[in-house]
Symmetry: C2
Subunit: 302 residues, 2 copies
């Protein structure tokens, strides 16, 4: 069963890794949000893309879910000593990714081409695609003014109240080569448990029309997000944060929606598609594979 | 006694550190070659400037003379794993210097301004000046064609036969702010034991006329260089490599020349200036201070 997974960072990467454990590599394509990408220290940094790749390659830090395992911090701590910007913590191994990616982009390669090369070097056999080769930059409208995403997310720790989002460059952004073909040959698209506002919406807007069944896994469990500001964003946008709110968010697209067992009662209120209620928390690689299997069976039942 | 030292990399840095040990900080200005600078991995790398600064700050690797002590190599080894250029070995701490310098240069700061800021951050109280704020790039004419300096020096290990040198941008390069004033108030200029062809000549060409006594310390001892390709270059340019050849190289400028004890007999043949014969090898920081003291006394005697 060929699957296209749409993913942001940590949560998306975990479910993508679940699929990677149970599907033949050629049957999995992951399309990754690039709205979080930014230019920092002269480097093009693609946090979601790197989290997905590091996770699939077995290189990710298992404590944080992002960054590299066995990381050292000598470059950033010396930038700090020089009085340079230190708010975005980049490890020494991670710096290699950004330096070499930036070098290849400046040579004229596309982000999807560089990503393909990096995946080959890291031994990733699945297809990982950035959502677009052209720049899309998520801007967060807040009570402190409009902020570039990483400024909001990392530098200001998601503290400002969110009023809305703007995706700079999204009108002209096209899916990368191979994305439409992957969708065409897929049985379904799976929206991973990533932030609907800033991880999935940009991908959906770039992909535009999707002629396949879409199944989404809730990133909100018991009204809270496992990681990241999705629940806080819902509340600040005037919507009670819940798995149901996420299902409503995607309802025009959905063939099915996956609730966590904690939200079983809530799931009764969702009438716009089929539902699966299961354990969606992914503590271990085995949890990821189990949830991926549940989702595949759900897709098969649609 | 105010001194301006002209320096390339390791040898120059050592004698500069000798002066730094015995002179009040405000009495020492080091003007450093930037012809070795190059753009690599999207970064502006200034090898001589960094070697001088790391040495004065006590951060230099005491085995190699260049790079940082207690260095790690996680970034470059991961660039290597990605298939990126690995021939120029940059350590993780060292990367911080290049990343942060490049960022500040792109902000519009001059190299001398960035160097001043870095010196302050590293606790260097002496004045370290790049020879120019505009780009000078040493090109080496060889039997394998013209090569950018680091391509010749590091990538090809100085193997091609040298035919000559070209300093791209030298015609328009001006000394940085403060350089002429430092020379004006100095009692003498000291040419450190650096490569005459590629470390000192570019500085001299940028400074143009020098109205002060100049004393040079030979980088060649017993016909050999302590480090680097100076002797090999002399031979390939058809000149027998010797301290005397170096003295002849500078003879229009020189008030005095410093020979090593090993070249005592050779020194009798130098008639174009005063001479000092002493131990010029600098194995330890104490050696550096002793040689610096010898040179200062020699300057005082002129």
């Amino acid at each position: 069963m060929k699957i296209v997974a749409l993913a942001g960072g940590v949560g998306g990467a975990k479910l993508a890794h679940g699929f990677a454990q149970i599907l033949p590599p050629e049957d999995l394509t992951v399309i990754v949000n690039t709205g979080d990408d930014f230019e920092h220290l002269g480097l093009t940094i693609c946090p979601d893309l790197d989290t997905v790749c590091y996770t699939l390659a077995g290189l990710a830090n298992s404590d944080t879910g992002w960054g590299r395992e066995n990381e050292t911090w000598n470059t950033i701590s010396n930038i700090e000593k020089l009085g340079g910007p230190n708010w975005f913590r980049l490890g020494d191994q991670d710096f290699a990714t950004h330096i070499e990616r930036t070098r290849r982009l400046k040579e004229g390669k596309s982000l999807s081409q560089v990503t393909r090369e990096f995946c080959a070097a890291w031994g990733i056999k699945q297809t990982v695609l950035p959502m677009s080769d052209s720049s899309v930059r998520t801007m967060v409208s807040t009570d402190k003014g409009e902020l570039a995403f990483q400024e909001y997310f990392v530098h200001r720790h998601c503290e400002p109240d969110v009023k809305g989002f703007r995706f700079e460059g999204i009108e002209v952004a096209q899916p990368v080569p191979g994305a439409r073909d992957a969708i065409k040959s897929a049985q379904a698209l799976v929206i991973c448990p990533s932030n609907p506002w800033v991880s999935i919406d940009p991908i959906l807007r770039v992909l535009k029309k999707i002629d396949k069944p879409v199944v989404a896994v809730s990133p909100i469990i018991g009204g809270k997000t496992v990681k990241g500001p999705a629940a806080k964003m819902y509340a600040e946008m005037g919507i009670e944060p819940s798995a149901l709110a996420v299902a409503e968010h995607y309802h025009n697209l959905l063939a099915g929606f996956v609730f966590d067992n904690q939200d079983r009662q809530l799931s009764d209120n969702f009438k716009k598609g089929k539902i699966l209620v299961t354990d969606t928390l992914m503590h271990s690689p085995a949890d990821r594979a189990r949830l991926a299997m549940d989702v595949l069976q759900f897709v098969g039942s649609l």
